[in-house]
Structures are given as C-alpha cells and as structure tokens.
Subunit: 338 residues, 2 copies
Amino acid sequence: MNIKEVANRARLSTATVSRTINQSGLVRPRTAEKVRRAIQELGYYPNTQARALVSGRSQMFGLIISDIVNPFFPELVKSFEFAAIHRGYEVIVANTDYNSERMGGCVRRMIERKVDGVAIMTSEIDSHLLSELAHRRLPIVFLDVGKVKPLISNIRVDYSKGIGEAVQHIVSLGHKRIGFISGPLTLKSARTRRSAFLKCISARGIGQRRQSVVEGNHKIDGGELAMTQLLSLREPPTAVLTSNDLTAIGALRAITRTGLRVPEDISVVGFDDIELSRFTQPPLTTIRLSRDELGRKAFDALYETVEGQARAGHEIKVGTVLVLRESTAPAKSKPRFR
Amino acid sequence: MNIKEVANRARLSTATVSRTINQSGLVRPRTAEKVRRAIQELGYYPNTQARALVSGRSQMFGLIISDIVNPFFPELVKSFEFAAIHRGYEVIVANTDYNSERMGGCVRRMIERKVDGVAIMTSEIDSHLLSELAHRRLPIVFLDVGKVKPLISNIRVDYSKGIGEAVQHIVSLGHKRIGFISGPLTLKSARTRRSAFLKCISARGIGQRRQSVVEGNHKIDGGELAMTQLLSLREPPTAVLTSNDLTAIGALRAITRTGLRVPEDISVVGFDDIELSRFTQPPLTTIRLSRDELGRKAFDALYETVEGQARAGHEIKVGTVLVLRESTAPAKSKPRFR
DNA sequence: CTGTTAGCGCGTTCAT
DNA sequence: ATGAACGCGCTAACAG
C-alpha cells in the first residue's frame, strides 16, 4: 500500500497524488477529487518515514522530563502533546529519572530518531551534553537554563512574583517566624526557588534563622521528615513555605501527626498547584506554576524556531501566582505547642 | 552526515559499514575496528528513518491510554517505555481523553507513523475501529477486551482474587452492609469491576441492596458525591469498596466532612493502589493492580509477537491483591450517625 | 496542470 | 570478506 498504488488506481502519476496530498494547489480540482477517492477506497496513509527521509524533517519533537510519575509532569506532557498533534507533530517522551547520566541516553535516542527539536524540561543538565547538542544544530528549548542563542530557546519562570505574593500574604496574616522546606539542593530548580524565597524574606526585612530553612526531596516523605525537623526547633515557625506541593503534603502530615492543626496552629503554602492540592486536608494554599502553559510554550518555542525562517531562539516568560485556599490563617498570638 | 561519509573516512564501502553496524558477523574484526573508529570520529548515528524505510520496521510501538493526568497511567507508561528502550524500541504515547472519537485519531497517527505494534490500554474501544486495525495486520495488545487471535494479544486482569480478598476481609471484620462506588458505567473496566464485586458479594450470600451500589466518575469529586449519596441512606453501609483509589479518596473526604471517621465509623477500600494511597488520611486499604506489571507485560506481548516467527497473539494474566492499610476496621455494633 | 525521474540514507542481494 | 547496485516510499526539479 503506497503512493504508487493510489496513482494506479486513480490513473494518474505519483507526483499528482503527492501534490494533492500536500496541498500544493497545482492540481485541478477534478483531478484532486479522483485522487482523494482513490485514497479513500484504499484506506491509504502516506508513509511518514519516507516523507521524513526526503524532506529531512521528521515532524517529531523530543520531550525530556525527569519522571512521568512525578505529578508535576503529566500535565506538561499532555499540553505539549496536545499542541504538537494540533500542528502535525509527534512527540517522543523520555524520562531521565533525575539521573543526569541517563540524560545522555535520552539525547542520543532523540538524535537517532532525528527529531526536529527537543524540549528539555528537567532541572538538571549535564553541561558537556550541551556542546554535543549545540553541535547538532538541533533546536532546543530549556527550562531556566542557559541563555538564548540561535536555535536555543529558554523558558524563564518568574518565581519572584508568586513567592512575593505568598510571603506578603503570610506576613499580612501576622506571621513572624516563617520556615521554608526546599527541594533537593542538587536540583537547580530547587535552588532557584529557595533563593527566591530568601531574597523575598530579606527584602521585607524579616529576620530569617538558618535552621528554619531545611531540605526536603520534593516528595511526600521528605516533606514530612523536614517538617518534623522544624517542629522540633525550640521556636518552630508558625508558617512554612515549601518547594513543591508534595513537600507541602508531607508537611501537612507531619503537623497533623503531632496533634497540631493546619491552619490554626501552623500555616502551610505549597508550590506548583498540582491537581491534588485542591483535595488535601485542608485544601492547600499554593503558588501556581501552570504546567499547561509550560508545555504549550515549550512546544511553541520549538515550533517557531523550526518553522520560522530565522531559526532564532526565543525567550519566553512564565509567571507564578498565589492560589489562596485553606491551609493559611492568621498567626495565633500564642501558638499552642506541646 | 551519513553512512557514505563514514565509508569514505574508513576507506571502505557503505555495505561494509552497514554490516558492521548491524553485527552481521561477516566482517573481519580488523575491518570492523576501522569502521568503528570512523563512526566514533564523526559522531555518526544511523538514520532511523532510512532504516525503517528499507527494513519495513520502525522499531516504534504505540501506546494508547485514556489520560496521562490520571495517576493510574504514568507508571504504566513508564514501565512500558522502560521495557521498550531496553529493547531498542521507541514509544509514541497518545491520550484519548476518554473520548472514543479521539481514539480514531490516535490510531490514525499510529498507522501513519508506521508503528510496529500498538498497546491499547484504554477501557473504551470503538468496535468498528477494531476491524480497521485488524485490516492493517498490526500487532495489538488490548486490556480486557476481545479475544486472542494471530497478532492480537490480550491482558486479562483477574479482578476476582483481589476483590474476593477484600470482601473476605471486610466480612471477617463483621461488616454486614457493604456499599460499592463504581466508576462511570460507560467504561468497560468500571462495569467489570462492579460486576466482580457483585458476584463476590452474592457468592457469599450477603444481601445487597440496589441503592448501596452507586456510580462515581473515577475521580475525587465523583467519589465524594457518591459517598454523600450513600451517607444519606436510611441505613448507610458500614464499609464501602470503590472502583479506584481516587474515588476512595473522595469517599474519605465525604465521610470526614460529615463528622464521621474512617475507619472507626466506616471502612473504605480503594482500588489500584496508586502512589498516593499510602499518604491519604488514613492510609488506604486497597486492591493493588500493578501498573508496572501491566506496562511491562503489554510491551512483552507486542515484542514477542513482532519478533517471534509465528506472530501469534498471547494471553497474559495479571492479578490483583489486597493491600491492608488503615482505612478498614471492625464494624461497630452501633455506628454513630448524626 | 500533469508526468518522468532523480535522489533522500540505508539494508541487501549479487558479484567478485 | 568486501564492493557495486538496486529499491524501500516519497518529494521536488524538470519536461511537456
């Protein structure tokens, strides 16, 4: 089943069939109709491989993420794919499992499959991989890494706005001792969030103790552990910001387990606004980073670069915004500790 | 950058290079070494498209799921991909969004991309799509749908064991009124789970009222709503089984909101054992269906069919097993209702 | 407007 | 053991 069979059936040449399929406009409507009928009757689909071979474009994008099981990513993947399909692109997804060595394998696969571009949405990037990539003249879009160049786009997340709003919110509720549970500091994104928080705090002239900034692992158990640490301080914070929602959920658990209540005794703020956050007990006040937007804009960046004539890279901003729910409340004058 | 350049550099023919790459064994070790060096120096990767074109095999599998955002699927996708990469296959994932019309588009994409096989892991399948697929001589693996034929494999989930264990567990705790919250009955999988439950119940000679089997939507809000219905009955059930964990989490919420407690007042059992279930309040007793196993076995089925000489379909069983956590407890003699 | 034909990069005969 | 040449399905350049 190929273009030749269609041509035979329509009693036309393969060229005419090809032109009809590709809407080149140089085909008489009546002829085109014949072609379409033949295609219909045979249930013919063009062979993408062959097309890719001759055109040099695979119409595929790679999407590299850390871990599809992390609830941060599925929405990102979904919106990226949605945008892609819409434009006739296919997506190859690869997980690095937070392992920068696996990244090499992912990139290799992408190159072998001749993708037209790659979105690298992980927070860890091996720098010597970058040179390998640049070498390939492959359009890439990064998340918060490196700088814009020809072929290289970048999505910049503006953490400061959302975190600023959160700190403002917490401060206006009368909280004085504000803690922070970061992600694993090996992750660039975790470091960025942490320093954005610290900057915000000090900009407001709030004294910040070293010990009330602790490290989690961006998972529930890490959040729980970290919160337990904070609770064991002589003067525990009355409000805690976290580096992602899973961490916040862990914190919720630690607090509840101790017999304290959220938000009456301690306020908690998450980060990301994953689906689940609406359903925690209590629903989580959190800083939303729209993965939907991230995925869509990542695709757009690649698409613009590939289809555009200049092949220029783009710099795209994505904002964060505070979502108020029920895990934050005014500070008690005398918080009840055991 | 192609095989010809490598050949030139190694002062050999493209045929020899090709043979070396494909391990045909017909190359003198010293010659092969030359080729490898040239490949190394040029950083050459074979063009997968061209290979696919000539070999007729794309080394890609399609994976069709309902919705990557549904926490049931990411693990499945991950294990499928893991197995695939391991064997040199690439994966194209497609979401139907529970929309059987979109399924058509997904299948179309798969065919266009000339995948070597498709795993259809959604619970809804348009029957007239099946004929289209069968027509293509495309290896397929289904989940609980249809029967095994040449090229067509099937994964059968044995719901009865896990559900049997759960019912047994609940009954042995002294519960008499056992409710069930199903998934949307438009979904085959939901209907299967529901009827497995009903069969179990009646097999044990437990009277089952119609009204204590209600329909959810496999999401948290649906579970909450359905549980609210159950709670408003004159004699609400003292234990509730659900069609998936999200539903169970919704039920948890509804119960807690009413001022009742889990498991003291009402026991809840989930289904699937998603990651999250360990972290609910209380941790969820649930019937585990390993998505990991599902993904791996789905890949294996396709792989065996494609690489095997007989191209036969396979029937693979996947079991379920009860995971005891803390959302179930002995029935109170007189449950406290408001 | 339509047909003929030359590659795209590679695997695979068929020679040597 | 190695090389020359054909063809996979398609698009594009050139002819008509």
